[in-house]
């Protein structure tokens, strides 16, 4: 009863495509294994690429069976989302742009369409058209899911690195009993200078530091905003009973500060961290005296 069969399928081409994908998954996976997106990522063995392709086909079949072919959040995709993210990540690392990845995903469609047309040979023309449309929409959704995972993964990376930078970039170093130093590296914005101020003040309390050194050797430029942040930090440290020294001011930065008309005369400044440390030790009543001869290490 071929007519009846066709009539039943015509009512739901989506289910027809789902069935087709499930039945032909081996063939599709074999063809996809040669496509750029799988071939370049799974270089170790072809079986691995076939395996990955099969997982994607099964996910597509599950999505088609659920009838949500345009839904990026369809349950079927969750299984392969991680694998797609890994694939996209590998391609991006190899230097592929988002557009290239998109084109490579598009290249997965023609082989499947070919197989589908073979399968449907002899069926009415409008039914064939409906089925290929469903398949095209489904492959388009897969492409979108792939690109979405690419951008989400990139955004996650950026967010994580931003947090890490906030924490890593502001270590408080104990130089001597009662002397702490913060080497500032990179551009200072409001969020970072807030973190610097808080970590420095907490370190002053914890280490019982009478002197704190802010070293700005690694700060590329100092504008009025940065200078204001520095002055705030110095003032807060002074309120807590510690003296704050700013060191590492390069000649170019000193010139900028003078040109901007920023008054740092209320702040103790030194050219280098070594000078600041010598000053701090002097304030503590400690002096470094060179010994007469080379020091012999005790055995």
């Amino acid at each position: 009863m071929p007519e009846q069969h066709t009539a039943e399928d015509r009512t739901d081409p989506t289910q027809e495509v789902a069935g087709f994908l499930r039945e032909r998954r081996e063939q599709i996976a074999q063809r996809w294994a040669d496509a750029a997106v799988f071939r370049t990522v799974f270089t170790v063995s072809r079986d691995e690429a076939v395996e990955a392709g099969r997982a994607v086909v099964e996910a597509l079949a599950a999505v088609a069976a659920s009838g949500r072919i345009e839904d990026l959040e369809a349950d079927g995709f969750t299984v392969v989302r991680e694998q797609l993210a890994r694939t996209a990540h590998a391609r991006a690392r190899a230097g592929a742009t988002t557009g290239q990845i998109s084109a490579e995903m598009e290249a997965l469609r023609p082989p499947v369409t070919e197989l589908l047309l073979d399968e449907l040979s002899g069926a009415p023309a409008d039914h064939v058209r409906e089925c290929t449309t469903v398949l095209t929409v489904l492959m388009g959704t897969l492409r979108l899911v792939m690109l979405e995972t690419t951008t989400v993964a990139g955004q996650d990376l950026i967010n994580r690195q931003r947090l890490e930078m906030l924490e890593i970039a502001t270590p408080v170093i104990k130089l001597w009993e009662g002397i702490v130093a913060v080497p500032l590296i990179g551009t200072l914005d409001s969020a970072r200078s807030q973190v610097v101020m808080e970590t420095l003040l907490n370190a002053i309390v914890e280490q019982h530091a009478r002197i704190a050194i802010l070293d700005i050797t690694g700060v590329p430029t100092v504008d009025s905003l940065v200078a204001q942040h520095l002055m705030k930090t110095v003032a807060a440290a002074r309120l807590m009973g510690a003296e704050c020294i700013v060191s590492g001011i390069r000649p170019a930065i000193a010139q900028t500060i003078v040109h901007l008309g920023i008054d740092l005369s209320s702040i103790q400044t030194r050219a280098s961290l070594a000078d600041a440390l010598a000053y701090a030790l002097g304030q503590q009543g400690a002096h470094i005296v060179p010994s007469a001869g080379p020091v012999v290490e005790p055995r």
């Binding site: 101020m197 808080e198 003040l201 907490n202 002053i204 309390v205 019982h208 530091a209 009478r210 705030k232 003032a235 807060a236 440290a237 002074r238 309120l239 807590m240 009973g241 510690a242 209320s266 304030q283 503590q284 009543g285």
Partner: protein, 140 residues
């Protein structure tokens, strides 16, 4: 007028005298009326008892406002007129940040990390009065 034995009123801040130094420990929330009474108490004690230094311990204070900042600098200015030094000790980081953000950097107010250091600071200066104010204390 209440007698000597009457319990201290609410919000009373004890002002302790240790030798020539007054020790004032502030704790918890400080209301405007308390701050006002504190200012009067310190002024009277400094002038009556020949005090040479005042230590205000802020280590138990979590929250300050602009009024509190002004009271602190007022007390410092007042005691200086009465020939005594004021040292603010043990200010918490959050309080310091708040005062700085409010624009109250309190220039002219001396600060110390802890009450002990504040006492040392005043003690050293009282002992070495003929020397300059910038004299550093020796470490044992």
């Amino acid at each position: 007028m209440t007698g000597e034995a009457a319990p201290p009123p609410d919000g009373y801040v004890p002002v302790l005298r240790l030798g020539g130094i007054l020790l004032v420990t502030l704790q918890g929330d400080l209301y405007d009326s308390t701050a006002e009474r504190l200012r009067q108490d310190i002024g009277r004690t400094v002038s009556d008892d020949a005090v040479t230094g005042v230590v205000i311990d802020l280590s138990g204070v979590e929250i300050v406002d602009s009024f509190m900042g002004r009271v602190l600098s007022d007390i410092a200015a007042m005691t200086r007129l009465l020939a005594a030094q004021t040292v603010v000790a043990g200010m918490r980081p959050a309080v310091a940040i708040t005062l700085v953000e409010l624009g109250l950097t309190l220039p002219g107010l001396r600060t110390a990390l802890s009450t002990e250091e504040a006492m040392n600071l005043l003690g050293a200066e009282v002992a070495n009065l003929p020397r300059t104010a910038g004299a550093r204390r020796e470490r044992p």
